[in-house]
Amino acid sequence: MTGPHRLPAGGRIDRSRTLAFRFDGRRYTGHPGDTLASALLANGVRLFARSFKYHRPRGVMAAGAEEPNALVLLEPGPFAEPNLRATEIELYDGLTAESVNRWPSLRFDLGAATGLMSGLFVAGFYYKTFMWPPSWWNRIYAPAIRRMAGLARAPREPDPEVYEHRHAHCDILVVGGGPAGIAAAHAAAAAGARVMLADERPRPGGSLPDGPERVGGEDGAAWAGRMLAGTSALLLPRTTAFGYYDHNFVALAERLTEGLSPSERAGRPRQRIWHVRARRVVLATGAHERPLVFPGNDLPGVMLARSVTAYIHRYGVLPGNRAVFLANDDSVYAAAREFARHGGEVAAVVDLRVDGTADADGLPVLRGAVPLRTLGRRAVTGIEIESEGAARRIACDLVAMGGGWNPAVHLFSQSRGMLRWDDQLQTFVPGRSAQAERSVGAAAGRFDLEGCIAEGAETGAAFARELGFDAPAPSALPERPHRPAPAQTAPPAGRGKAFVDFQNDVTAADVALARREGMHSVEHLKRWTTLGMATDQGKTSNINGLALMAAGLGVPPAEVGHTTFRPPYTPVPFGALAGRNIAALADPVRRTPMQDWQEANGAVFEPVGQWLRARYYPRDGETMREAVARECRAVREAAGILDASTLGKIDIRGPDAAEFLNRIYTNGWKTLAVGRCRYGLMLGEDGMVFDDGVTTRTGEHRYLMTTTSGNAAAVLDWLEEWLQTEWPELRVYCTSVTEQWGTITVSGPQARALLEPLVEDIDLDPAAFPFLSMREGRIDGVPGRIFRIAFTGELSYEVNLPWRRAAPVWAKLVEAGAVPYGTEAMHVLRAEKGFIVVGHETDGTVTPVDLGMERMLSSRKDFIGRRSLARPDSQRADRKQLVGLLPEDASEVLQEGAQIVETPGATPPVPMLGHVTSSYWSPVMGRGFALALVRGGRARHGDRVWASATTGESRVRIVDPVFYDPEGARLDG
């Protein structure tokens, strides 16, 4: 027999096989079908965990998803999963688990000393106790509190498991495989509807296998299996519906390898997240038993009454020998009888209701009695109650409580359905629906078995009918049997900590304190005390908490209301949410044709959107600065080549293309000849610079637009938006051709000499092939285009080749002596020329005038953003304007983002004049230089101001932003 508390027979476990497992290093045995909790209970283990704040000893309270106490760390190392409920972990051979939040050990825990100082740690203590001195909060208080409080530690190693996602559509999704859910799925599937049934347990049946209930004489689990076997419903066991979103979108987490050891589950996904879109949803999510709030109600050995029955019937485990049942609901009497029938001794049934009418049927019942406190240090040894005005003690090793039932309305509430307070049940039940769903059975506050089954079947059929399937017409549901109401949760009578939220260590006194301090709203109560904010989302605590608040305020609980139920219903691993979208698959990867060569030749890359661009190409032992300086010199003195393939390219064609460009760009396009290129500036309608680039007229009604690398998709969207929504009359068509053309920029005085041997039918002579024009021809035998465009200020040819033919040309140019230069050198070279980069010199608040680009603004036409340039704010003289900066210390390179201030060391608040937008070392000038946006900067050339950064303050001189070859003499080589 696996443990002293295992009954000789019964339970839905496989007694023919024995599984060995470890908890906190000790070896135990159990059976297939056990959970970690049931196996440990069978072995007489009562202490499972230490509590979150006070480090109080805790045992198992429940038998399912609502368990607040028995959280464990499952498996060590990379397979570790923190804060799993022992009541849901299916046992497997070799399982290893550890208790949480204890040091050095579960039995002897030093943190329990916080319990002795618990007066300090009441609700909101961290807002008050640790206020002074303020500087201590980050350094001393917060780290200490964080060390002491909490649950399991997060695993440090990467998760070796894989997770996957799946999308599904169905006519009817049924959540919950209990009697009502099975009946609904059966009825809907029988009518021909596509049905999915998600059930969090390993086998369907819901609460049926937890007790002695039979369906029409048939064993409950057998009935469940039989009902589903003959239908087309897709049953997903071990699957939790954890989130209910708009338009009947429900997220499910299916645990695919539950009950398998890490080695057995190798190669199989750990979980699958289902994205289900259902035309109708049936919520058959059952109900959770409500704990009672009394001093010491968290001691190991205090359990929920129906959970005691569940351990007997599901696992063949009798969780105690002599029990006191605390009844605030008639269902507790049935639990007491089951306990007695299986050999337990019922010391007393303490009925909290004075007017209780349940049939004692031989049980020792004390009516109108209340629990004062539990007795025992690490586990229950007895209970003190008050009966007929006198306190008395009853020895026991199990206290089974039942405060009534809370329908599991979480998903209903997430669907934005309105909850309604039910006085008869003393809890919230589903009210008005917001989406196409219906709650049935216990989830709707119905607890008679026949009624639940009838309601489920009726709802399944009714939904099928609504969707056009042929289902039987509705029949009358059986009347709900009368159910004596439980008493409202009242402040505890005895002294000592009476827990409301077990997982977050929130007591009845905390709720009362919150009320005294003015937290009358349930939302304030939640945030002040953290009630309901633990990993169990307040499944066992929320209703008691708000009922206590209501009692304290002297108002009905309906008036106090409830907090928002939020996903997830039970915790979902981050890995499952991420699915396969991790590491290399986290984002699409885009590769340039030259990237293989660049990788093979030691390039250092930087991410630009989904691209990696070669930033620089260090040679043996070169630092970044040395490499960039060498690359810059090569372009200024000889020739370099840049991989510009990532530039966005959009093919624009149609008879109205020129008119369209005229409206989109700030400058004029109607006079551009075929084969000529023009730089264009695009504004948002607010007048701020949005993108820039060169556009070439490639044919009579055809243009090739280039955009910045990072903005390519946004620009295409922008063009499409205007064409489709504002100017549908324009006959213009836009196509992205970014990945059709590989682009190599050859730049420098030797560019022509270098390129000439590869070009067959294009005259590269600047006289024949002027700046800002385009030629088509064969380059190394490949048909392509060459553009005379220069971002460096040197003689440049931008060679466009079919994507897959570009790399060999690149290699030949390198062989011929071209020096590959990266984006860093490109930035230095363009900044020396005062050329802006969108996103460096602009940030969505910069106009063309601010950049000194008035000449780009046509006065002969309207364009997007033009009217905004006339707004008073766009005309202010003190707008930030583009300037150059030279540090007085020529060796200094300013920090990008450094603030420009008038005087150093000023006392805050310091007026901010602007900031450094680009800053580099210029090899050609032999000094550091920068571009900046400075208030009224264009009128301040020659002024000295200060650049203030985390590295210190530097004196700088404001200068013209064009540092190199202002006349453009070098453009033609």
Partner: protein, 96 residues
């Protein structure tokens, strides 16, 4: 997550779409004729009703076409889908 009926592709998940803000805000024919205030109104001012709202959506991961949607901003019910340029359909709950 909402499900939106693309007029060209059919019902698709919200994640396939781009939201384009309030519909039926035409670009002024002659921006120069507008006062600064009227221009700012076109640029910045948008309705924010609790109720049925006419708005633009684009099927970014499908046909890439823009269209209009009448959507209830509180219940997220999609009341109507209609093409660009078409007038806003009548709806009893239409917010002023």
């Amino acid at each position: 997550m909402m499900r939106i009926e693309c007029p060209w592709c059919g019902g698709r998940d919200e994640t396939e779409f781009h939201y384009g803000g309030e519909a039926h805000i035409a670009r002024p024919e002659d921006p120069d004729a507008l006062s600064d205030e009227a221009w700012a109104d076109y640029l910045f001012m948008r309705a924010n009703p609790r109720g049925v709202h006419a708005e633009r959506w684009m099927h970014a991961q499908g046909c890439r076409q823009w269209f209009n949607v009448l959507r209830h901003t509180a219940s997220h019910e999609v009341v109507a889908v209609y093409p660009m340029g078409a007038p806003r359909p009548d709806h009893p709950e239409t917010a002023a």
